[in-house]
């Protein structure tokens, strides 16, 4: 949970483009020094939200506070923010160096301070050899790094990153991830970070806000979101490969059970949200990585023999597709274990690790 006083605080923020309602009465408090990751499907309004915080879009309603100051009507430059744009927005006629230094020069910083900051940022981002080039002579990833650099050199309270690493290779990305984390720890400034990369989200975030259609669905620590998603959407959206869902019936009473097409899962170890479990149509969700197979599986509270249908290799391990209770079920297996299509194996899981959702509303039970 957020610690300290809020650094960025958003109240009832709404925004329309014409009659397209993009953000709807959105509330969000971000603590000082917090690292908040915005996650959500494409087009859900993440960039729009960042733009609103930055003051680049005229909001329709609501208020925005930064460091306790109402900045709703402030100019972007007076908000103490730095931003990396999804579209980079580099100044095309300036060299990389010019792009990095321009804001600083304008702010009237001394020359050697500017040089120092640029040196540091370009070292972190590995763009030293490119400093004299213009953006048009850079590759996509190089442009993206310059865009990050432009934000990094600024000494601000709040950083807004819009998918800053999307065009970088995995290696560089993990390096920069570590750098950003380190930077965050050192500077202790607030960061709001949009990403589609779950690893990024989970490793970087203090809290994650999952958005859908302009509304925040869940705002919580990464593990909490991962383990206890508040609704089916969040459960489905996070995790890759994504959670397995099985539709069925919840049978309440003393010994609650989940029933579907020949399967019955005992739920006594499951932590219901409400004190007692209701009865009715529901969806049972279990993450692929929580499904064991082989000997380990047999020992678990629920286990079943199934047939392997598809195998997807994934480098270090493989994804196995099978069926359970009439729905698809996938789980991970180590690449070396000799599983083949058509094999029959025992799979099992601990229902305590599962999530149950009400079928009509999709909310967690």
């Amino acid at each position: 949970m957020a610690a300290g006083k809020p650094s960025v605080s958003i109240k009832d923020l709404s925004l329309n483009f014409g009659n397209v309602q993009v953000l709807q009465a959105l509330n969000l408090d971000i603590a000082e020094g917090e690292f908040l990751v915005l996650l959500g499907p494409s087009g859900c309004g993440k960039s729009t939200l960042l733009n609103c915080i930055a003051g680049l879009l005229d909001i329709s309603d609501g208020q925005i506070f930064i460091n306790g100051k109402n900045v709703t009507w402030e100019e972007p430059k007076d908000r103490g923010i730095g931003m990396v744009f999804q579209s980079y927005a580099l100044y095309p006629q300036m060299t990389v160096e010019g792009n990095l230094s321009f804001g600083l020069k304008t702010a009237g910083l001394p020359k050697d301070e500017i040089a120092k900051r640029i040196a540091r940022a370009s070292e972190i981002l590995q763009i030293e050899p490119l400093l004299k080039r213009k953006p048009s002579a850079l590759s996509g990833g190089q442009r993206q790094r310059v865009a990050i650099g432009r934000a990094l050199v600024r000494d601000v309270d709040v950083f807004l990153f819009d998918e800053p690493l999307s065009n970088l290779d995995a290696k560089l990305r993990s390096e920069l991830r570590v750098e950003i984390k380190r930077l965050h720890q050192r500077l202790a400034n607030t960061m709001i970070y949009v990403t589609h990369d779950q690893i990024e989200a989970l490793t970087l975030a203090d809290r994650i806000a999952v958005m859908k259609g302009g509304v925040i669905q869940q705002l919580d620590a990464p593990q909490a979101i991962y383990n206890r998603p508040v609704n089916r959407f969040v459960a489905d959206f996070l995790g890759s490969p994504s959670m397995n869902f099985i539709s069925g019936q919840l049978e309440g009473g003393e010994k609650p059970h989940f029933k579907a097409d020949g399967v019955s899962v005992p739920l006594d170890r499951y932590a219901f949200d409400k004190s007692s479990a209701a009865t009715g149509a529901c969806i049972f969700g279990i993450r692929p990585e929580h499904i064991a197979h082989g000997e380990q599986a047999a020992a678990l509270p629920f286990s079943r023999e199934i047939e392997v249908e598809i195998i997807e290799p994934m480098g270090s391990d493989m994804l196995v597709w099978t069926k359970l209770g009439g729905s698809n079920l996938t789980f991970r297996a180590e690449a070396e274990k000799p599983l083949k299509v058509g094999d029959r194996v025992i799979v099992g899981f601990d229902p305590a690790r599962a999530s149950l959702f009400d079928a009509p509303t999709g909310n967690r039970i």
């Binding site: 680049l56 972007p76 430059k77 923010i81 744009f85 432009r150």
Partner: protein, 275 residues
């Protein structure tokens, strides 16, 4: 077609240069007199004045039309209301005939019944604003009218350029805390470099050719104080019926244009097109 154009321009230029070495009068004639026409040209006090005027007028008009045109375009680009109206107001002088433009400004700047008279009529007796009848500043009087007529077009060109710029660049600059004027100066203007080049060529070619306005406003006067080279060319070709002299003068004009344009063009187009 474009080839035709090039052939016409190249051919026409060559023809002009060739005949500038003759003493053609009313009709072009091959009777070579060597550099005589050039000696006479540079001996004529009027040509000297004309060149000097063109230099002053050219530099100032280039600077001011770019500055004013850009400024107006920038103002119009602020998502203002009545943009169309303002734009048309700034542009309409461009549609009017030079002759009448000259006449109206001649009136407006006339000390006896123009602006000076009005201001004096308001009680400010010592007010003097008499550019057209003071040989030392007459060229500025012409400049005022020229800017009035020409800046609208520059504004349009600039506006077209501004409209091509991606909004994200503006956003980035706003976040960087770069003041508006600096964004224009250091980001937008460099991005509009091609537009500026176009504009400069258009303005410059207009400057070199400036003629009608001077005729209409001052007839080159007082005396020869506001003469310009194009008028010299025109006067000698058609009034004085001395084609050779006119050609010599226009060859000099072209020569100076070539001296400026060719190296620049090679710098500009010779290197890789993008980047």
């Amino acid at each position: 077609m474009i080839l035709t154009a090039v052939v016409v321009f190249a051919g026409g230029t060559a023809w002009t240069v060739l005949y500038s070495f003759t003493n053609s009068k009313l009709l072009p004639r091959f009777s070579f007199v060597g550099l005589d026409q050039y000696y006479r040209l540079w001996a004529a006090p009027r040509w000297g004045v004309a060149v000097e005027n063109l230099a002053i007028y050219g530099v100032l008009s280039l600077i001011f039309s770019l500055a004013i045109g850009f400024l107006l375009a920038a103002l119009l680009d602020q998502k203002i209301r009545f943009e169309d109206t303002f734009r048309t107001i700034f542009l309409y002088p461009f549609a009017l005939s030079f002759i009448v433009t000259g006449l109206v400004w001649q009136w407006l700047l006339n000390p006896d019944f123009g602006v000076q008279a009005v201001v004096r009529g308001l009680g400010w007796e010592s007010f003097t604003f008499n550019p057209l009848y003071d040989a030392s500043i007459v060229i500025y009087g012409i400049l005022i009218a020229a800017l009035w007529q020409g800046t609208g077009l520059v504004m349009c060109l600039m506006l077209a350029g501004l409209r091509g710029i991606d909004e994200d660049i503006w956003k980035a600059a706003r976040v960087d805390g770069i003041p508006m004027w600096k964004t224009y100066l250091f980001i937008v203007i460099p991005m509009m470099r091609p537009v500026f080049i176009t504009t400069i060529v258009i303005i410059a070619s207009g400057i070199i050719k400036v003629y009608d306005l001077v005729v209409a406003q001052t007839s080159g006067g007082p005396g020869i104080a506001s003469e310009v080279p194009a008028k010299y060319v025109y006067d000698y070709m058609f009034f004085a019926q001395n084609l050779g002299q006119g050609f010599a003068a226009s060859t000099m004009m072209l020569l100076s244009v070539i001296i400026v344009v060719v190296p620049w063009a090679y710098l500009e187009f010779g290197r890789a097109r993008r980047g």
